[in-house]
C-alpha cells in the first residue's frame, strides 16, 4: 500500500468520522469542531488528488471564513433550550431509515454508472504529473474563459451582503 492510498484512506476516514460525530455531539460547539475536522480532512483529500488550489480554498473559505463565522455565532448565542437537552426530534428512526435508503439508492446508481467520455490523454498526463491543477493554469482558465462568471460572483456576494444587512435591520426595527 503506497503512501498516497494510505493518506487517501486516512483522510476519507477522518471526513466520515467528523460527520458521525456531528450527529452525536450534544453541544453546537462540538458539532462545529467536528465539521471543521471533516472539512480539513476533505482539504487533505483534495491535496492528495492533486487539486491544490481547491484544497487551499477549502481551508481558506470554509474553515477560515464560514466556520469561524459559525463558531462566533455559537459563542454569541449561548442559549440553553430544549435543543441542548434533547438532541433529537421525534421522528428519529424514520429519518435515519430514509437517509439510509437514499444512500443505498445513490450507491446502487454509482455501481452501475460509468464515465461517459474518455478524458483528454494530454490533460490526464498533466494531471498525473500533478501540474494540471496548479495555480497558473487554473488562473489562466478562470480569467480567460470564466471571467464573466467571476464578475457575476462579485455581484452575488454584494447582493448577499446587502441582504444580510437588510435582514438584521428589519429585525432591529421589529424589536423596536
Amino acid at each position: 500500500m503506497s503512501l498516497e492510498s494510505l493518506l487517501l484512506y486516512f483522510f476519507a476516514g477522518g471526513a466520515l468520522l467528523g460527520g458521525v460525530l456531528m450527529l452525536v455531539a450534544r453541544h453546537p460547539m462540538r458539532v462545529a469542531l467536528a465539521l471543521i475536522g471533516s472539512m480539513l480532512s476533505l482539504a487533505g483529500l483534495y491535496a492528495v488528488l492533486g487539486v491544490h488550489v481547491i484544497a487551499v480554498f477549502q481551508v481558506l473559505i470554509y474553515v477560515g471564513a464560514v466556520m469561524v463565522f459559525m463558531v462566533y455565532v455559537i459563542m454569541l448565542l449561548d442559549v440553553r433550550d430544549p435543543s441542548f437537552l434533547e438532541r433529537y426530534s421525534g421522528a428519529l428512526l424514520p429519518s435515519v431509515a430514509l437517509a439510509a435508503a437514499i444512500a443505498v439508492a445513490l450507491g446502487a446508481a454509482l455501481s452501475r454508472g460509468t464515465v461517459a467520455d474518455g478524458p483528454d490523454p494530454a490533460a490526464l498526463a498533466a494531471a498525473a504529473r500533478g501540474t494540471l491543477f496548479n495555480v497558473q493554469p487554473f488562473s489562466v482558465e478562470f480569467l480567460e474563459r470564466y471571467w464573466l462568471h467571476f464578475e457575476l460572483t462579485s455581484v452575488l456576494l454584494l447582493a448577499a451582503v446587502v441582504a444580510a444587512i437588510a435582514i438584521v435591520k428589519a429585525g432591529r426595527r421589529h424589536d423596536g
Binding site: A91, P94, A99, I102, A105, A108, A109
Partner: protein, 625 residues
C-alpha cells in the same frame, strides 16, 4: 369586366361605408352612398341585361372566388345571369333603388339614419347573392343573409320590446323553413353531386333520373320557401314584421325578399317538373294561403297589416302558378306585384307620415283632398292589385287564374274557383282600405287633422314612378320572355274556348269587389259595424287570425317552455352542471382542508417529506432507468 361581381359588391361596399363611416361623416354622405351605390348597381344590371340579350339566351357565368375544394368537388362563389335572374335582379336593384330614395324622405329625422341605410344596403347585397348565385350553396348564404337583414330591420327600433320580439319571431320562424332547405340541399347533393342550378335542372331533365325522389327534395325545398315566402304554416311572422319602418316593409316584406321562395321554385323548375306530388302540395298550400290570408285581411284595421295579409295572399297566388307548372307566370306576378305592392306600402308610409304615425284606418278618412298625389298613386295601385284592366295586376292575375283552371299539370275547376273567390275578396278589402283611408268623411281628431301634409318630393316622386309602372308594367309579356327557360304548361284544348269568358269573369269579379266595398263603406263605418254585430263569431275568428299564433303557442311554445324550464334548466343546468361544478369545488375544498394538515409548521417534518420525495424519484429512476 366582372359585371356580375360588381353588381353584388356595390351594395356591400355601401353597407361597409355607411356602417363604418356613416355616423361620423353625416347625413349627406350617407344619402349619397346609400342611394348612389344601389343606383349604380341598377345601371350595371341594365348593362348586363343588354349584354345578355346580345348573346341570344346563353347565360353569363362568372366565378368570383373558389370557396372550398373537397376531393373532386369544388364549391365556387359563382354568379349566373340568365333571363330569370335578370328579371329578378332588375326588380331588386330597380325597386330597391326607388325605395332607397323614398327612405331619404321617410327616415329624414331618424337618429339612426346611417344604420338604417347600411342595413338596407346589406339586404340588397344578400338578396343579389341569392338571385345571382349559381349554386344552391351561394343562394343559401344569400337566403340566410336576407333573413338576417330582415331581422335587423324589423327590429330596427329595438327600444320597443314588441318590435324586437317581432324581429325575433321572423328569424325563428324562418329558421324552421331553413331546416327544410338544408335537408333538401344535402339530399340533392348526395344524389346529384352538384349544387349548381343548371347542373341540377339538367340532371333531372336528362334521360337518367337521379336516384332520389324529386318530390321529396321538392317538398323539403318548398318548406324552406314557405318560411321565406310566408306560406301556411309558417306565415305567422310576416304580419308582425310590419313593426319595421314602412319602406322596409315595402322592399323586404313585399317586393323582394318574400318572393325568394317563388324564385327558388321557379329556378329549380327542372326538378319540380319531375315532381308532380310536390307541385300538387305547392298548389294546394298556395291557394289555401291566398284564401285564408285574404279573409283575414277583410277585417284588419291596421293599414300595414291589411297590406301584409294581402302580400301573403298574393304570394299564395304565385305559388298556385308554380304548382300548376306555369313558372313564367309566377315570375310575372312577382314582377307586377313588386310594383303595385311597393307603391301601396310606400303610399301607406306616406299616409302614416302625414298623420304623424297613426296606422288605424278607423281613425282616417277624407284624405283624398289633403294628400292628392298619395291618393292618386294609391288608387292606381289598388286597382292594379284588384285586377282591373288594363293595369299590371290584371294581366298576371288573369294568367294565373287561367292556368289554375286549364293547366294539364294540375289545374282544376276547384283550384280556379277558390282562387277567383280570393280575387273577389282581394278587390273587396283593397277598395275597403282605399275608401276608409281616403274617401269616407274624416274621423281624425282635431290635432292630427291639423298636421296633415303631403310628403316631400323624394317620396311622392317615387310613388308616381311606381304608380306608372303598376299601370303599364303588365304590357311587358314576361312569360313569353322567359319561355326559352321555362316553357308554359300545355293547356286542355277542350277548355280553350272558355279563355275569353273567364277573362270577362275575372274583370267582373274585380268590379264586384269594388261595388261591394263601395256599398258597405261609402257612408263610413256604420254599415260595417252592423255587419260585424250580426256575424260576431266569424268576425272574432277572422280578427283573431284563425288563432294560429295561439295554437302554436299552446302546441309548440308551452311544451318547449315546459321542457326548457323543467328538463334543461332545473335538471340539466341546476342539478347536472351546477351540481357537478359545486361538487368539484367542494371536493377541492375538502381535499385542501385535509392536505393543509400536512403543513404542521415543523421544519423537520418538511425535510422528511422532501427526502421521501427524493427516495421516491430515485426509486422511479431505478425502475425505469
Amino acid at each position: 369586366m366582372n359585371l356580375l361581381t360588381l353588381i353584388v359588391v356595390l351594395p356591400l361596399a355601401g353597407f361597409l361605408l355607411n356602417g363604418l363611416l356613416g355616423p361620423r361623416l353625416g347625413k349627406p354622405f350617407v344619402t349619397v352612398v346609400g342611394c348612389g351605390l344601389p343606383i349604380l348597381a341598377f345601371l350595371a344590371t341594365v348593362r348586363a341585361f343588354l349584354q345578355l340579350n346580345g348573346t341570344e339566351g346563353a347565360a353569363l357565368v362568372e366565378t368570383a372566388y373558389t370557396w372550398a375544394v373537397v376531393g373532386d368537388f369544388t364549391f365556387d362563389i359563382a354568379f349566373y345571369f340568365d333571363r330569370l335572374s335578370a328579371v329578378m335582379t332588375l326588380i331588386i336593384t330597380g325597386v330597391g333603388s326607388l325605395i332607397h330614395v323614398y327612405s331619404t324622405g321617410y327616415m329624414k329625422d331618424d337618429a339612426s339614419y346611417a344604420r338604417y341605410f347600411s342595413y338596407l344596403n346589406l339586404f340588397l347585397f344578400f338578396m343579389l347573392l341569392l338571385v345571382l348565385g349559381r349554386s344552391l350553396l351561394v343562394c343559401f348564404v344569400g337566403w340566410e343573409g336576407v333573413g338576417l337583414a330582415s331581422y335587423l330591420l324589423i327590429g330596427f327600433w329595438f327600444e320597443d320590446m314588441a318590435k324586437a320580439q317581432a324581429g325575433k319571431k321572423a328569424f325563428i320562424t324562418n329558421r324552421v323553413g331553413d331546416a327544410g332547405f338544408l335537408l333538401g340541399m344535402f339530399l340533392l347533393y348526395h344524389a346529384v353531386g352538384t349544387l349548381d342550378f343548371d347542373g341540377v335542372n339538367a340532371a333531372f331533365s336528362g334521360p337518367v333520373a337521379p336516384a332520389v325522389s324529386a318530390s321529396l327534395v321538392g317538398v323539403l325545398l318548398f318548406i324552406g320557401a314557405t318560411g321565406k315566402s310566408a306560406q301556411i304554416p309558417l306565415h305567422v311572422w310576416l304580419p308582425d314584421a310590419m313593426a319595421g319602418p314602412t319602406p322596409v316593409s315595402a322592399l323586404i316584406h313585399a317586393a323582394t325578399m318574400v318572393t325568394a321562395g317563388v324564385y327558388l321554385v321557379a329556378r329549380l323548375n327542372g326538378l319540380y317538373l319531375q315532381a308532380p306530388e310536390a307541385s300538387q302540395v305547392i298548389a294546394v298550400i298556395g291557394v289555401l294561403t291566398a284564401f285564408f290570408a285574404a279573409t283575414i285581411a277583410v277585417v284588419q284595421t291596421d293599414i300595414k297589416k291589411v297590406l301584409a295579409y294581402s302580400t301573403i295572399s298574393q304570394l299564395g297566388f304565385m305559388f298556385v302558378a308554380l304548382g300548376v307548372g306555369a313558372y313564367g307566370v309566377a315570375v310575372f306576378h312577382v314582377y307586377t306585384h313588386a310594383f303595385f305592392k311597393a307603391c301601396l306600402f310606400l303610399g301607406a308610409g306616406s299616409v302614416i307620415h302625414a298623420l304623424s304615425g297613426e296606422q288605424d284606418i278607423r281613425k282616417m278618412g277624407g284624405l283624398a283632398r289633403r294628400i292628392p298625389i298619395t291618393f292618386v298613386t294609391f288608387a292606381v295601385a289598388t286597382a292594379a292589385i284588384a285586377g282591373l284592366p288594363p293595369l299590371a295586376g290584371f294581366f298576371s292575375k288573369d294568367e294565373i287564374l287561367w292556368f289554375a283552371f286549364a293547366s294539364e299539370r294540375g289545374g282544376s275547376t276547384l283550384l280556379w274557383a277558390v282562387a277567383s273567390l280570393t280575387a273577389l275578396l282581394t278587390a273587396f278589402y283593397m277598395f275597403r282600405l282605399l275608401w276608409l283611408t281616403f274617401l269616407t268623411p274624416s274621423r281624425m281628431d282635431e290635432k292630427t287633422a291639423h298636421h296633415v301634409h303631403e310628403s316631400p318630393f323624394s317620396m311622392t316622386g317615387v310613388l308616381i314612378v311606381l304608380a306608372v309602372l303598376s299601370a303599364v308594367g303588365g304590357f311587358v309579356h314576361l312569360p313569353h320572355f322567359l319561355e326559352p327557360l321555362m316553357p308554359l304548361p300545355a293547356t286542355d284544348h277542350a277548355l280553350e274556348h272558355l279563355e275569353m269568358p273567364l277573362i270577362v269573369l275575372a274583370v267582373v269579379t274585380g268590379l264586384l269587389g269594388l261595388g261591394a266595398a263601395i256599398y258597405v263603406y261609402r257612408g263610413g263605418l256604420a254599415r260595417a259595424e252592423r255587419l260585424q254585430r250580426r256575424f260576431a263569431g266569424a268576425h272574432r275568428l277572422l280578427s283573431g287570425k284563425y288563432f294560429v299564433d295561439e295554437f302554436y303557442e299552446a302546441v309548440l311554445g308551452r311544451p318547449l317552455h315546459w321542457i326548457s324550464e323543467r328538463v334543461f334548466l332545473r335538471l340539466g343546468d341546476r342539478i347536472l352542471i351546477d351540481g357537478s361544478l359545486h361538487g368539484l369545488t367542494g371536493l377541492a375544498q375538502r381535499a385542501a382542508g385535509r392536505l393543509s394538515r400536512v403543513e404542521t409548521g415543523n421544519l423537520q417534518f418538511y425535510v422528511l417529506l422532501a427526502a421521501l420525495g427524493l427516495v421516491a424519484s430515485l426509486a422511479w429512476m431505478w425502475r425505469h432507468g
